[in-house]
């Protein structure tokens, strides 16, 4: 699996992501500078990582979504290439029109860093094939603006088409306002686009890939992607 991580000024989880990808795929990802206009030839997976691109100034993800490299990312996605957009990446993907909706400030108006439980809604996507549908995983979040909101029609469509792939839940998989730590609509933690090749999610599976750092629940996502490309090859 040949991955490329997009690096915008102010991004800060690109190293975490690179380490997780290297650990699980056995191959170091390419780091692609925001001012470049092309992705490395043969890229399988594009990752838009977490952080504070352009300081989150103006609006989270708004400036990054208009960076030169994003034209290449949009073209890559349009051709069916896989794009994994995490945290600030999710915000950027929404701003770039790759995914619907928007990430607003957390309901409690504070930055929150803690482990959360996610119910995996389906296992038949390239991103979630490493999990079972209904499985609950535990991964950290670290964001101030992760409260997913979209208009009623969009939410209905997302739900109707099964495009909500991760939902905040209790440890035993119940969706409950007490476990929806940022107030997201329908406890949405991650969604895919219509074609299923772009995933946006707020939590950080890349920070739970080693037992010594707490848990390994995040591995399934990366291991699943590796399998996906193995099968395709």
């Amino acid at each position: 699996m040949k991955s490329a991580i997009i690096v915008f000024p102010g991004i800060n989880r690109e190293r975490d992501m690179a380490r997780a990808l290297t650990l699980i795929s056995g191959r170091e990802p390419a780091m692609v500078w925001h001012a470049d206009s092309a992705l490395p030839a043969g890229t399988d997976l594009v990752v838009i990582p977490g952080g504070f691109s352009y300081g989150d100034y103006l609006r989270c993800g708004a400036i990054a979504a208009r960076a030169p490299i994003m034209d290449a990312v949009r073209a890559f996605a349009a051709k069916g290439g896989l794009v994994l957009a995490i945290c600030n990446g999710f915000q950027i993907a929404c701003e770039a029109g790759l995914l619907p909706g928007v990430l607003m400030r957390n309901a409690q108006l504070r930055f929150i860093c803690r482990d959360v439980y996610l119910r995996v809604e389906r296992s038949d996507t390239a991103f979630t094939r490493g999990y079972n549908a209904g499985q609950v995983i535990r991964v950290p979040v670290a964001h101030g603006e992760g409260n997913y909101i979209a208009d009623g029609e969009t939410i209905a469509r997302l739900e109707g088409e099964g495009r909500v792939v991760f939902r905040y839940s209790s440890p035993d998989g119940m969706v409950d306002p007490n476990w929806n730590h940022n107030g997201a609509m329908n406890a949405i933690a991650g969604i895919i686009n219509e074609r299923g090749n772009v995933l946006g999610m707020m939590p950080h599976p890349e920070n739970h890939v080693e037992a010594a750092m707490g848990r390994t629940d995040g591995r399934g996502l990366f291991a699943g992607l590796v399998d996906h490309f193995k099968l395709a090859a």
């Binding site: 000024p9 800060n12 975490d16 930055f111 860093c113 890349e206 750092m213």
Partner: protein, 734 residues
Amino acid sequence: MISNEPAITPELIAQHGLKPEEYERIVKLIGRTPSFTELGIFSAMWNEHCSYKSSRIHLRTLPTKAPWVIQGPGENAGVIDIGDGLAVVFKMESHNHPSYIEPYQGAATGVGGILRDVFTMGARPIACLNALSFGDPKNPKTRALVAGVVSGIGGYGNSFGVPTVGGEVRFDRRYDGNILVNAMAVGLADKDKIFYSAASGVGMPIVYLGSKTGRDGIHGATMASAEFGANAEEKRPTVQVGDPFSEKLLLEACLEIMAKGCVIAIQDMGAAGLTCSAVEMGAKGDLGVTLDLDKVPCRETGMSAYEMMLSESQERMLMVLKPEKEKEAEAIFRKWGLDFAVVGETTPTKRFIVRHGGALVADLPIKELGDEAPLYDRHFIENKRQPVIDAASVKPPMPNSDALEKLIGSPDLCSKRWVWEQYDHVILGNTVQRPGGDAAVIRVNDGPKALALTSDVTPRYCEADSFVGGKQAVAEAWRNLTAVGAQPLALTDNLNFGNPERPDIMGQFVGCVRGIGEACRALDFPVVSGNVSLYNETKGRAILPTPTIGGVGLLDAFTKSMTIAFKAEGEAILLIGETRGWLGQSLYLRDICGREEGAPPAVDLAAERRHGDVVRGLIRDGLVTAVHDVSDGGLLVALAEMAMASGIGAVLEEQSRVPAHAFWFGEDQARYVVTAKDAQSVSERAKAAAVPFARLGATGGAVFAVDGERPLPVDELKRRFEAWLPAYMAGSSA
């Protein structure tokens, strides 16, 4: 032109925080009346914050050397060797005055400043800690200060991308008018690639890098060197404004040009901005410096020389670059979208010369600006010792189970989750132990080594007996590092006190420094960096003496780090160390009995060392399953914390003749609680080392049961432990 050159009057001198005799010293030194800009430069260099004029004479007594110390105090940060060609660079610094005036920006720029100190030396920051002291929760300002400071720390550190993994939060009415915000940053560098601030070579270009200079923070360091009056809020314009985005870019750009070998010397612009950084680089290198202010990138037009020299705008650096690498360095900075300007050069004259608009605005002897700063051996009186309180004379006002419930739900002992959940503590993927334990543990790169980090001080002990309090702060930091299995290596100290011109305050300072020095020597735990913050007073009322100790320790294997949580049912709970039931200055005496008195617990450094070495050995050899240092609140609080961290209960029994409340809540030092599958092997180790040892009970069940007391369900304890701070911040309790 002359509009920025007002006549030098006694009022103007006083406004610059200079005493009449200090001004006389300036006139004698330069042989004439200083210009307005020169007066500003002197006030920036000679204030307490930058010159350490009241503290230097005492700081010299601290031990700063050990075979593993690469750089002690005097540089931007301390540097220690951790083997494998790696060095740890760290320092703690206060941002107290600004954080009270403007909590968000004050705290944010405190974090920014300390991060810059670390990466200026060539290290990539890997962790931050924060020690925070706030006023009485009932004070109407406290809640807003907590909210502002915490979100400022998070706002800067989270965006910069460094995990904030530990620290302390305390409340006391003595901090009502002067909160303390002490920020510590820790970085990792290659041992042979440390960068220093001394310039070398004549005619070398001096380069200004980073953000533009604006009118913020002018006189910040001078403001921080004075007491607050009734008008503290009016000083808001002296607080700087932080931009973590620029700092992140500055970090990446600096590390990149360092890696490319472009840098001869580097100094960040912190307190007193351009003035302090330029003078330090020149003076340390025995060189003169000429600055042309017309070249300085400015955020606004029409800034005077005076304003430019005193601005404390953030995210700026000054460097001496290798001339042949100048173009390469400039290209790197342009790539990161940062300003880059050659603003001066080094000269052989040892003069500090500043030009602006073609005119000479300062011409001063560079060495004397720093070296000839006033040095005071201030008069001090030692604190009056308080009597030792006999535990038998303290009547318990409530059952011990009630007291425990009250203590763990109190502002000082309750869970600080509300605070540290606002800090990204998992970024970089190396956080082995998150906040909430004895010390944070951060893996070094891909391992196997790890660093343990903690910050500690018990201000009420320091006030009751400064010498003992100074010792205790160091001993507790050493103990916390030990409790996670680390070998303590070195510390940074952040000494927060009131007005040193008052002999009783100066006495606190001197006592604490002596105590710190004695403990450092006894524990082989040298001071490698630090910061002094004096004049933490409002309307003549000083803070509690608060010498915060930031400790760094090393684990050989991150997989062997020990935590406080009980691990399994049916394990033996053991106490290492002696319990005499010391209630003087305890939280039990203060919060349960309403008495703030007595001598603080004695600190026996030989016992600390002996007990700690045994505990570290037990961890290393896998003989214990959980370890927790016993400190604020005493034994029962420590045990409850171990139960709450695991959800596993305990059955406990007193094993001494000490009155029960004193046994469970006394704050005797040099103690650890450990759990073990096999108590025998632990007791053998303790006996062999002549370390006092007692069996307290066993883990198990879901109830915390102390012999003769009402049993407490662990989940109920936990609910109380977690309840106070969120409720307080939501405005529903005080």
